[in-house]
């Protein structure tokens, strides 16, 4: 019973990870858009990447993946580290890229 419950929870967690809408990474060193172009180039170089948003204001790099593809936290963290930045956290959220862009626009309008 406990094993079944554990497996169910594990499967639910994995399913959510795979189907999560957006991967949001908090990044240190994001102060120059000219230099940060490399982040977008690096992430779009992964075949799994569908969309990328970079916010210097929030220190945020967010991306969505193409359907039925997976990119691990380690892969993403390595990609940004090798782009010259420091990743402080990675979360997978249900927010869409459009929602994030809208919120960022709202921040800039303030």
């Amino acid at each position: 019973m406990i094993i079944r419950l554990t497996l169910s929870l594990l499967l639910a967690f994995v399913a959510q990870a795979v189907s999560a809408t957006t991967i949001e990474m908090k990044v240190n060193g994001l102060v120059c858009a000219f230099c940060a172009q490399g982040i977008e180039k690096t992430l779009r170089g992964h075949a799994e990447t569908e969309n990328v948003v970079v916010s210097l204001e929030q220190g945020l790099v967010a991306l969505t993946l193409k359907p039925n593809t997976v990119l691990s936290d380690k892969t993403l963290s390595t990609a940004l580290t090798e782009a010259g930045y420091t990743v402080t956290s990675i979360t997978r959220t249900a927010r869409s890229i459009e929602q994030i862009k809208k919120e960022l626009s709202g921040d800039q309008a303030d």
């Binding site: 990044v27 240190n28 060193g29 102060v31 120059c32 858009a33 000219f34 230099c35 940060a36 172009q37 490399g38 982040i39 180039k41 690096t42 170089g45 948003v53 970079v54 916010s55 210097l56 204001e57 220190g59 090798e82 782009a83 010259g84 930045y85 420091t86 960022l104 800039q108």
Partner: protein
């Protein structure tokens, strides 16, 4: 030893377009990036460069440099390596220390010979301020020419990723060394610059206290 004209021709052929080493931006753009830069400085220097960065912490490329006073000029062409010695990534700031060096050829009047270059740059920036200090050394014919540059910049607004970034920059520069017995420049050269960048293009234009123009263009691919 190949002549300076052949080296320049090779440089142009390989680069295909203007390349620059900016005295004000970082000598390494981003990993797997190619940078082309050109800078004209107050009638005393002109530099064009192209670099490729296989990793974020180093780039390799070529550079053509002219340093001149009212009497004569030294033209140099180098193959060069830039290295990010140290970076500090903070939540709202970044600091860097770069070193670089090159080997090539120089011509001064009728003399042609081996030339070496070396330099060091330290910078600190946020989205509102930029500070940098840089030393560029060029050695040929037993004499070293040096350019020391300090910059302080301020942005009227904090740019974001898709914005046009704007900085007002004050620059102080000294030129040490002589060509044909005459200094490159006497005293401190001050310049007021407007820096704009968006996407992969960076433009800097301004004027020195001698009313001479200064400009720099850099593009990343």
């Amino acid at each position: 030893m190949p002549s300076i004209s052949i080296l320049k021709l090779a440089l142009v052929a390989v680069l295909g377009q203007l390349a620059t080493e900016t005295v004000s931006a970082k000598p390494i753009a981003f990993a797997n990036g190619t940078t082309l830069m050109g800078e004209y400085g107050g009638g005393s220097m002109f530099e064009a460069q192209a670099f490729y960065a296989p990793r974020y912490f180093y780039s390799v490329g070529a550079s053509a440099l002219r340093l001149e006073n009212e009497q004569a000029a030294r033209d140099s062409a180098y193959l060069r390596v830039n290295w990010l010695l140290k970076r500090w990534n903070l939540p709202k700031a970044q600091g860097n220390v770069f070193v670089y060096g090159g080997l090539g050829n120089a011509r001064e009047v009728q003399s042609v010979g081996l030339a070496t270059s070396a330099g060091l740059q330290a910078d600190f920036e946020t989205r509102r301020v930029y500070y940098s200090a840089r030393i560029d050394l060029n050695h040929a014919f037993g004499r070293t020419l040096a350019i020391d540059t300090l910059q302080a910049g301020w942005a009227p607004y904090a740019h974001d990723f898709d914005d046009i970034a704007t900085f007002f920059v004050l620059q102080a520069r000294t030129y040490r060394g002589e060509i044909q017995g005459q200094p490159l420049y006497r005293g401190v050269e001050y310049a007021a610059l407007l820096r704009l960048f968006k996407g992969r293009t960076w433009l800097e234009v301004g004027v020195t206290q001698d009313r001479k123009p200064q400009a720099m263009l850099m593009v990343n691919f």
